[in-house]
Symmetry: C2
Subunit: 386 residues, 2 copies
């Protein structure tokens, strides 16, 4: 299958490109290195130096992997994106090309506006490039579980039937996100759903929880193929940050009470989920929404698991409850459904002590690269001060 990956240089984009190429698909990746630029600007560089995308593709090929094509350019530029889509004629397009950090989107006006315009315009351009140039292409869009927020009712997979005053209808499940970044994903969903209805687009929206992990079957070929591993407060996800704190011998920074519960998944499971979505495309005029996580955990649960895993390596871990820089419930009901991907065949690998211990072992060699300034919260939801 011809698969286009937007945001192919990202934490998820690059491992996805390798995994799908390894399965025999023809893969073309696009990136403009926006995340690298914003990480530099905010002093949130990844733990290891990552070769550029073309170099990564060369290293992968040299290690025996199949060819991955690379196009450097901005998906928010329609001329560029529509030309790539017209020439490549993708059968599936995986859309990761968004500014992915909630704290970044809350720094101030410039960062919020960049997030809004980049994320909306990449999605909008992909919609139109597909409609105009490859209308049968299946769009696989990465959404986020954060679109739903933390409602007091069970979270269904994308849709809900509402009974009201004796009548019934089916709607998108209500969305109410906790950051501007997450809100742009809500807007993406609204846009995609409109064009699915009006123009017969084929879309799978993967509502993903926070991802952890730093290796996949393909990164094992050569360490330089590892994804960009951010451990900071802006581009790092919580599990990755905690593991680095454990290695560095500094306290884990739990925001507030730590009862914040989310659905998590391993990087290797993200690859499975995306593969399953592509192998099971939807028909024209259908928006399928799948909740993409394997288990729900509170921040406190994660801190305890990281501590237990670290103890196996004789690392002593303290947990610090720091003032929560975000506006969010710290103790709340959370019951999201996730049967859709399991029914498609997902085999979860859970966040066990074994898994966390293996990650810690992989991180130990990079201990001297850790910059402690990066792991304390620097962005506040109430002020955006840096």
């Amino acid at each position: 299958m011809r698969i286009l990956i937007l945001g192919g240089d990202g934490y998820l984009g690059w491992p996805t490109a390798m995994a799908l190429a390894a399965e025999g698909h023809e893969v073309l990746t696009i990136d403009n290195y926006l995340r690298r630029l914003l990480a530099e600007r905010t002093r949130s560089q990844a733990l290891m130096r990552n070769p550029d995308l073309q170099e990564r593709a060369e290293i992968f090929a040299a290690a025996g992997g199949p060819k991955i094509r690379v196009a450097i350019g901005d998906c928010a530029n329609y001329l560029f994106l529509s030309r790539v889509v017209a020439e490549f004629q993708p059968e599936a397009a995986i859309h990761y090309a968004e500014q992915p950090s909630a704290p970044y989107s809350m720094i101030g006006f410039d960062e919020a506006r960049l997030t809004l315009n980049n994320n909306l315009n990449t999605t909008f351009n992909l919609i139109w490039a597909v409609l105009e140039r490859a209308p049968d292409c299946h769009i696989v869009k990465l959404g986020t579980m954060g679109e739903y927020g933390t409602p007091k009712i069970d979270i269904e997979e994308g849709w809900i039937e509402i009974e009201h005053a004796g009548r019934k209808d089916k709607f998108l499940f209500p969305r109410q996100a906790g950051s501007l970044y997450h809100t742009t994903k809500v807007l993406d969903t609204d846009l995609l759903w409109f064009y699915v209805r009006s123009s017969g687009l084929r879309v799978t929206d993967l509502m993903q929880g926070p991802v952890y992990g730093l290796s996949t079957a393909e990164t094992d070929l050569d360490k330089r193929l590892m994804p960009n591993f951010h451990y900071d407060d802006i581009f790092g996800t919580v599990v990755n940050r905690f593991l680095v704190q454990a290695i560095a011998g500094i306290p884990l920074t739990v925001y507030g009470k730590g009862g914040q519960t989310r659905g998590y998944l391993n990087l290797r499971d993200t690859l499975q989920c995306v593969r399953l979505a592509i192998q099971n495309p939807v028909k024209r005029g259908e928006l399928r929404i799948l909740n993409q996580f394997t288990e729900t955990l509170s921040v406190n649960d994660i801190a305890l698991r990281v501590r237990a895993a670290a103890a196996r390596l004789d690392l002593e871990v303290r947990v610090d409850h720091v003032a929560n820089p975000r506006k969010e419930a710290e103790d709340h009901y959370y019951n999201p459904k996730n049967s859709g991907l399991l029914e498609l065949g997902l085999k979860p690998s859970l966040m066990t002590e074994d898994v966390l211990t293996a990650m810690l072992r992989e991180l130990v060699p990079y201990r001297h690269e850790i910059d402690l300034k990066k792991v304390r919260p620097r962005v506040s939801w109430s002020g955006g001060a840096r």
Copy 2:
């Protein structure tokens, strides 16, 4: 009160500016003439020539009206808007500064992208200009009843309590719009609601139905003060278009079966509603949503009323059911609530034969200005062909 009107040159913006100035408020209007430009480009010019905004303000003052201040500039330009907000320190900001045409937004990529970026960025910039420069200012945002679409359940005013699997929570009423233009208003609502929650903005979102009318108390001072009256298929609303067709002696163009039902209101009632919203501001951190219409009517109902009114002037009216260029239900359940504005004191003036006959009389002198090319549907939802 110091009141800022974004989009003060518009069909609603200009009458609003005069009405609020006449009540003694200090009014500053902003416009960049985007709608005039797009009307020219699509050959959808208004029926009467409208003086520019500065000239309108001069004519109004010469006719004995109070001073209306004018700033020409683009609200999608943050430097411009934030400077105006900082200097004027508005206590209320009425936001009409959006590309307002559903058909325009469905012509093609360029028109859709302009609509998305203009509408989202004006709203986003207003949010930030208020947060940074006048955080106590009450934003009165014009939304649209079209955000809700035509669900099979009763439409509440903005919010709904959902009971699901034995638990309850309150959410934004589900939105599912029928054009890209209407979808941008859904995105506006999502954005406003996020910043209300995260930053304590004060917002009233007026979910308005299609407006009809061409005069107000202030336009009676001088004919040149009339709002820009569009009767075409792109910028004209259905009632205004039907009245012009009646005057021109050509059939009324009902799209499809004509069972499409919406909530309508008179231009004079829009002014009442906006005034009531401003007189009753919400507190910080509150998003109030009011459904702004006075009666629900099908397109067929309106055609019959226009025919009856025209008969009084000895105008014979035929009704043509033309192929529906839109994708919409032509026969559907529709039961929207609108008690909020009535409770605040709205006194509706309904679409009676008297009201329609009066409008016809006002239009007769412009009969020779009518361009018949403008009233047939030129934009199709399924192809966007012009």
